[in-house]
């Protein structure tokens, strides 16, 4: 096993693991980034969504070898309590969550959407989140929160 480097939230991380280790396991077990969640391991629920070179990808199905040298953004790379991403602030403002387990993956999917479509319609937001399962029924708040974040970003939010 040769060490493999990838860029996680702007910093280079070098890991030594089997080539086909899922990126999700690398993030959680090797790099201690537990914000990205395991949901199904079958690329069906979106809990493990991360950005790979800006595109939303399910990290449970991404082998380590396929992301060598690529830029990965996880929920930890979005913002912090002191400097929240407008999406994170909007989710708090709308109280958009119940158990909250699905939220990191949803925030990543939403970021991917807003990065290329700053003014999505409600149905475009819903479509962009269709790969993410929420079981507590927070959908309506989540859709509102993404709309709110989009508006804030258009008004010149920090990112």
């Amino acid at each position: 096993m040769d060490p493999i480097s990838l860029i996680v939230n702007g910093s280079t991380a070098t890991v030594t693991a089997d080539d086909d280790t899922p990126l999700l396991d690398i993030l959680r077990n090797h790099l201690g980034l537990v914000g990205t969640k395991f949901g199904c391991g079958q690329e069906q629920c979106g809990c493990c969504m991360v950005l790979v070179d800006g595109r939303p990808e399910k990290s449970c199905g991404k082998a380590l070898s396929t992301v060598a040298g690529k830029a990965i953004t996880t929920i930890e790379g979005l913002g912090t309590p002191d400097r929240p991403h407008p999406l994170q602030q909007a989710f708090l403002d709308e109280q958009a969550g119940q158990c909250g387990y699905c939220l990191p993956g949803i925030l990543i999917s939403a970021k991917a959407l807003l990065d290329h479509n700053p003014a999505p319609s409600r149905s475009q937001i819903a479509e962009a989140l269709d790969d993410n399962i929420c079981r507590c029924g927070s959908h309506v708040r989540i859709l509102r929160a993404v709309e709110r974040a989009a508006a804030r970003l258009r008004e010149g939010g920090v990112r």
Binding site: Q88, L92, V140
Partner: protein, 707 residues
């Protein structure tokens, strides 16, 4: 010491210091046996304690669900946390505040009537004194027992309760912090996966250990106790890969095929059952002057289908077993583990850590038991068991399939003179408190007896829950058939029997309204005298712009439904709009709810919204599939749920949330009425009624062909 007025929770946990303490200057420790399962209960408890103690919420450190630290409140279930747990906490906090004021008055020469508390400081005629909770803490004995009715604050003086406080647990979840049991990192952790018995009572015939080791890309250990088989290793990826192929390399004896036709509910009608009638005996002959109407409604088994599979952590060290779990009941789990491992309960600590929303008895207790059994036999090693997705779908207890028949004898005015709700159902409660019904325990060499199927008292009932309509019918009864043997393990899921029963009752109400040529809202109000029930029905009709006489069979439909959860918790009325071609599209849902005094209005609305989306998913999508090997719907493709592009717009309004009335549990109030309102809306759109859930494309097509 205890007075008869003490609520049961306080009688069971009577010492004031079990609930409240002042550990260091400026901070307050408050304990609750309730646990956060995504319903926002911790924020609400914080509000209750802050209000009655008169301290800023930020001062409170809330301890929750820990057998070493918190009161034993049994299970966090049944929409009872605020209605019972919150009320107990409020009484304790009021008594603690009163004791401090009594002491300040007696020791420092104040008139008791002139004293109050402001953010922990004792005030005299509105001015701060030199005394506060912390300076007086040493002198006020909180080891004494609660005595009960210390005056609690008047609702009109509330400044914290009744306001929409933001959830305290949400930031960690939004920023990717350590929020869930899955995220807990134990030093030297050993990852484990269990190779499940395909069926209760199955015994291992062979284990091809060489094949399992060949599948491993790193070191693994194979552990076997009786028919309990687990794979352990330091690398989660390695252990997971072995677990994925393990069923191919283990053979079992005693695995009888099940009948896959049992996935539809009507097989229940042929099963032996324990029968009970609640209410007057059924009429033996036709009631003069009435016409009999009867219809049968069914629902398949439903999965909790938490968004992530269950997880449990355990370590056995120096004779003490420490367990971390997202179970809804840390004390019952501790007792069950004690029985399973033949340990003294005092040697076991069980601590709650949040998990994905469970909505009832899912795999959480089993995953914790898996970890505990492994840890017990591997002293010193911290064990982490994270179930696999297919394991959660395949082995969690599911909500039982149900058949509900309504028989109504309708008078000349179109109103029921006699009503029977006849219910066939497997067990809705099999939580592991008694020591049985834990998968790992059953796989050990001396499994505990399977707990008998019981229904429990009515109300609230389990399968019978909400079986009695709240309407003013001269005679109404429930006839219940409890079926002990079901093809798969069943237990409690949000609403229990209420979902199917409300669907049946409220569907029949629409069918009777139609026969009587009356508007569904007006028909319900004509037989509903409970003022609070009337007010939620009228409220939802108003906010939805309900109109009588809209034509049916146009492809667009609107339905209404009402229930008071358990007939003793919150009232909820729901209106749903749908468009139906071949598929059902849910466009819009309105809900009006009366939950008595509401601690956190936005929290309650969030719960009601969640129940609506959950109910919509049950109504349109969910049903456990079976094959001869058991549950075959083991992923999100075969167990579809409502997705973002399918959710309706939702409007929820609370009726009189600041009225000085007892809190009524709200977490399960909107699900049943939503399922029924969607069913009624679909019937209105089609001009034909579907009586079997879920309302799938196939069923819509079949109804269109019949029509």
């Amino acid at each position: 010491m205890n007075t008869p007025t003490l609520p049961p929770l306080l009688a069971a946990n009577p010492r004031l210091d079990q609930w409240v303490g002042f550990p260091s200057p400026g901070s307050v420790a408050v304990s609750t046996g309730r646990v956060e399962i995504g319903q926002g209960v911790l924020t609400a408890m914080l509000q209750i304690a802050a209000e009655e103690l008169d301290v800023a919420p930020e001062r409170i450190l809330l301890q929750t669900g820990d057998t070493d630290l918190t009161p034993n409140e049994g299970y966090t279930a049944g929409s009872q946390s605020i209605q019972f747990g919150g009320v107990a906490l409020r009484m304790v906090c009021a008594e603690v505040r009163a004791l401090f004021l009594d002491h300040a008055a007696a020791s420092h020469g104040y008139s008791r009537a002139d004293l109050a508390v402001r953010d922990g400081t004792i005030t005299h005629r509105g001015e701060p004194t030199a005394h506060d909770y912390w300076s007086l803490a040493a002198a006020v004995d909180l080891t004494r027992h609660a005595t009960g009715p210390s005056p609690t604050k008047s609702v009109r003086d509330y400044t914290v309760v009744g306001r929409s406080a933001p959830r305290t647990d949400l930031p960690a979840k939004v920023f990717g912090g350590l929020a869930f049991i899955h995220d807990v990192v134990l030093d030297g952790v050993v990852h484990a996966r269990v190779v499940r018995q395909p069926r209760r009572g199955a015994t291992i015939a062979s284990v091809d250990e060489a094949a399992l080791r060949r599948a491993a890309k790193g070191p693994v250990e194979i552990v076997r106790r009786g028919n309990f088989l687990a794979i352990l290793g330091a690398e989660e990826t390695v252990v997971e890969a072995v677990a994925a192929v393990a069923p191919n390399h283990v053979t079992w004896d005693g695995v009888d095929p099940i009948n896959p036709f049992q996935e539809e509910a009507r097989w229940l009608l042929q099963q032996p059952s324990t029968d009970r009638t609640i209410g007057p005996p059924p009429p033996t002959e036709p009631i003069p002057g009435t016409t009999r109407h009867e219809a049968t409604y069914t629902r398949m088994h439903i999965a909790h289908a938490s968004v992530a599979p269950s997880c449990g952590l355990a370590v056995f060290r120096d004779g003490k077993l420490q367990v971390w779990t997202h179970s809804q009941g840390v004390y019952p789990l501790r007792d069950a583990l004690a029985r399973t491992l033949k340990l003294n309960p005092a040697a076991i600590s069980v601590k709650h850590v949040q998990g994905p929303g469970c909505y009832g008895h899912n795999g959480a207790d089993d995953a914790a038991t898996d970890a505990a059994v492994i840890a017990f036999h591997q002293p010193g090693k911290p064990i982490r068991v994270r179930w696999r997705r297919e394991e959660e779908f395949g082995f969690e207890p599911v909500s039982p399939a149900m058949v509900v028949t309504v028989q109504a004898a309708v008078d000349d005015a179109g109103r029921p003179a006699d009503w029977t709700t006849e219910i066939w159902s497997g067990r809705h409660t099999s939580r592991p408190g008694g020591g049985g019904n834990l998968l790992a325990a059953e796989a050990l060499s001396d499994p505990p007896p399977h707990p008998p199927a019981v229904e429990g008292g009515y109300p609230p009932g389990a399968g019978t829950r909400n079986g009695e309509p709240l309407y003013d019918f001269p005679a109404k009864r429930i006839v219940h058939h409890l079926i002990a043997e079901t093809p798969v393990r069943t237990s409690s899921l949000r609403g229990l029997g209420a979902t199917a029963n409300v669907f049946a009752i409220e569907s029949m109400m629409d069918e009777l309204a139609e026969r009587a040529g009356q508007d569904p809202v007006a028909y319900r109000l004509s037989v509903l005298s409970d003022a609070r029930a009337r007010s939620v029905v009228e409220h939802v009709a108003r906010i939805s712009g309900w109109q009588a006489g809209l034509p049916s069979g146009t492809g667009r439909g609107r339905g209404v439904a009402f229930a008071r959860y358990k007939n003793m918790a919150a009232y909820a009325a729901v209106v749903a709009d749908v468009a139906v071609d071949e598929n059902v599209r849910l466009l819009r849902v309105w809900c009006a709810a009366d939950a008595g005094l509401v601690i956190n209005p936005d929290g309650a609305i969030n719960q009601l919204e969640g129940g609506i989306i959950h109910g919509a998913s049950w109504a349109l999508k969910e049903g456990v599939r079976l094959d001869t090997a058991g549950i075959s719907s083991r992923d999100w493709e075969t167990y579809p749920v409502l997705r973002f592009s399918e959710v309706p717009e939702v409007t929820v309004e609370l009726v009189d949330p600041m009225a000085d009335r007892p809190c009524l549990g709200v977490g399960e109030a909107s699900g049943g009425p939503t399922v029924a309102a969607v069913g009624n809306a679909v019937a209105h759109a089609l001009g034909a009624r579907l009586r079997d859930l879920p309302l799938t494309r196939e069923r819509v097509m079949a109804a269109l062909l019949r029509a």
